[in-house]
Amino acid sequence: MNRYLWPLVAFALLAIVLGVGIKNSKTKGVVASPLIGKAAPDFVLPDLRDPDRPFDSRSMRGRWYVLNVWGTWCVECRAEHAALMAAKASGKLPIVGLNWKDDSAGALGWLAQLGDPYVAVPVDADGRVAIDYGVYGAPESFLIDPRGIIVHKQIGALTDAIWESDFVARAVTP
């Protein structure tokens, strides 16, 4: 083979490798969580709707549930709210709404206005629990199994389709 052709071949190979890599990364900018398959960090936080009755994550042991991280400052959270309400109506998985670095009065107003899809709303005012869960942007949703293991993490807004395929389907047939 012509020796001047080698750089061209190398370039073509590189282009193919990079092209395939870019094409297969449907989740650009999304960072896989190292917490998948690990125990969900336990926490006790005051509940938004009743600050005197703290929410203990261990009270969810023994059933599948979803931990949804949200805040009223989060635009995408508003976009996914309808899907959360539909998920609640379908009654297949309870949703715990971790209220992340938010203003409690505003958060209560949000739930009153848009509907309340949550079984509990622990308030993470200083963001420490969110750090333990490796949260870097709301909304994020974790599917947690009856033993308290994180099975799946969704970064970005939920939709009805994602809820069915990535959460309900996994919880029923893990």
Binding site: G29, P34, K101, A130, Y136
Partner: protein, 142 residues
């Protein structure tokens, strides 16, 4: 006049300090130095191309608080890095760790350099052989 110029230069030099995002001061200068080094090598996950030391977003300041608290509590730099990567993955570390998965990343520059040296050495040898074989070749001195 000279004093004014000096003042202006001093002002320019100090401006970045006034604009610093992070104004945390730890009580011990050694801790402060470790704190600054660590916050510069941890990625802000929200903005992704800034370190947590340079980022004004809320999560970055939460993570800086976490770094400061852990250093004050006596954690080593490696313990802080491990704490962060256990939650956010290796992506949060600007300096990738040496592991089976990242070994090629560290080895590649050396391999490429070695390859370049071999190619250059072969070209030099071939050229010098050509020169030696050429009866018409004159050096400027001869």
């Amino acid at each position: 006049m000279k004093a004014r110029v000096l003042l202006a230069i001093a002002g320019l030099l100090l401006a970045p300090a006034a604009l610093a995002i992070d104004t945390t001061q730890l009580p011990d200068p050694a801790l402060q130095a470790r704190y600054e080094a660590l916050t510069h090598e941890l990625r802000c996950m929200q903005c992704q191309n800034q370190s947590i030391a340079d980022s004004p977003v809320g999560l970055a300041s939460d993570l800086r608080r976490e770094v400061a608290e852990q250093l004050l509590a006596g954690s080593s730099d490696q313990q802080v890095r491990d704490y962060m990567s256990a939650r956010y993955g290796d992506f949060i570390l600007f300096r990738p760790r040496m592991s089976a998965r990242t070994a090629w990343l560290w080895a590649l520059p050396g391999v490429l350099l070695l390859g370049g040296v071999v190619v250059a050495w072969r070209i030099v040898r071939r050229r010098s052989a050509m020169v030696a074989d050429d009866p018409d070749f004159d050096t400027p001195d001869s």
